[in-house]
Symmetry: C2
Subunit: 255 residues, 2 copies
């Protein structure tokens, strides 16, 4: 399935012409939820107006794959709401999730002329779609945008290297603790309160594919942490963490 097929069609509830109309005069961008996040925050209002002309807003339903690994990388994306999983697959179906990305995330850095990963919406996702060609032109005009993208790429590289350490050398317990702690950092950033509460959009299978484990091992490991009083689980995908620092200690491989 090609990306153009995915993005050009199959969005009956949000016809393209109306979306484009909505972007006129930069209204959509200047009042956008991610105005202060992501690449947009590197631009002033005038520059943003340029960017807006190249953007098309689309909505992706849960479970829909909208980037196929190895297909032509003709478009970049900027997520404005929802959560997306990025993954690679082996021919026999084994899957590795490279990351879960949400609001403000720019999609299309790990790209030559073909996408290096597939992308699928976990919950309902809204995003801005850019033609790669047009965006590159805009980038040429605004060096600040270029620098911003380099910074984004640097951050992603740091995250990728942390994940390599996790996948190559951490135990199941350390992996799950790392994941939970990482999600808390995303949610609360700087310092995480005691009894921090998280609600995950992703399934156990997704977590397993992110951590290089099986569903069963993830489930057993979380149960283990629960028995030790390190986490409490609630309805849906809710997990609370009484003492985040203990989780962090485990995540770091210090015990």
């Amino acid at each position: 399935m090609s990306v153009s097929a995915l993005t050009a069609g199959n969005i009956p509830s949000y016809p393209r012409r109306i979306v484009i109309a909505g972007m006129d005069g930069c209204q959509a961008c200047s009042v956008c939820e991610v105005r202060a996040h992501g690449i947009c925050s590197a631009l002033n209002d005038d520059e943003l107006a340029q960017l807006a002309k190249a953007a098309v807003r689309v909505t992706i339903p849960p479970g829909r794959q909208f980037i196929e690994e190895d297909s032509d990388a003709g478009e970049f994306f900027n997520i404005t709401s929802g959560t997306v999983k990025l993954f690679k697959s082996l021919p026999d179906g084994r899957r590795q999730i490279m990351g879960f990305v949400g609001i403000g995330h720019f999609l299309g850095l790990a790209v030559s002329d073909r996408y290096a990963f597939s992308a699928e919406a976990i919950d309902q996702v809204r995003l801005c779609r850019f033609s790669r060609e047009r965006l590159e032109t805009i980038i040429d005009e605004f060096p600040r945008l270029e620098r911003r993208l380099r910074n984004e790429a640097a951050n992603e590289l740091v995250a990728a290297q942390d994940q390599m350490l996790l996948l190559g050398r951490k135990t199941a317990r350390e992996r799950v603790a790392s994941f939970l702690y990482g999600q808390m950092v995303e949610r609360y950033s700087d310092d995480i309160p005691r009894n921090a509460r998280l609600i995950f959009p992703m399934t156990r299978a997704d977590i397993a594919d992110f951590l290089g484990l099986t569903v069963e091992t993830v489930s057993r490991t979380i149960s283990g942490l629960r028995r030790e009083g390190l986490v409490t689980t609630g309805a849906g995908h809710e997990i609370s963490v009484p003492t985040p620092s203990r989780l962090q200690t485990i995540a770091r491989g210090e015990e």
Copy 2:
């Protein structure tokens, strides 16, 4: 151990003042082995002269660690010869090698204000050292350099994601095949000849730490490939591959 201590001293055979003198007038850069590679190839001769003023050439003996994870990232590096291993460690000594990098590679992308990894010379390494501050100034002046760095970062991200798939989902056999095939691509780039011969600068322990395995498993796996006739091993760290395509098939997880 701080980076400045490592880079400022301990290079008795190559005193700094002479090195700096050698860079005058861009001579050193314009005739440099990596002139056509890495970030330097993004610049014309005049621009390169600017860069040269900020560069200090240093030589690192085998086994010397010259970047310490989490120390202040005050300097960037550009490798002109030799091979460097980049790695992260856990408190108990478990180690994950993020990659082996050689000629033309720019070191310092996966960085916030502290290094995200440690770096150690495998064989004798020569590199250009830049003050981070000065290099950032130069980058501001030359947008082509900025774009080049983003491309470098994008390529590293793609490689990191391939490695995540390897570490999270591939078998030992697939990992070793991937490594050998990857080394062949580095050596021969496009199409790899039959009976391609490789000489590795790194030990089995390094390969193990790169692939998320133990030394013993790497050794046994290579022995297994030898018994199957997929590789032949020679003296030193030499390995030949009669049919690279078969190795590639295994690396991709297709059998």
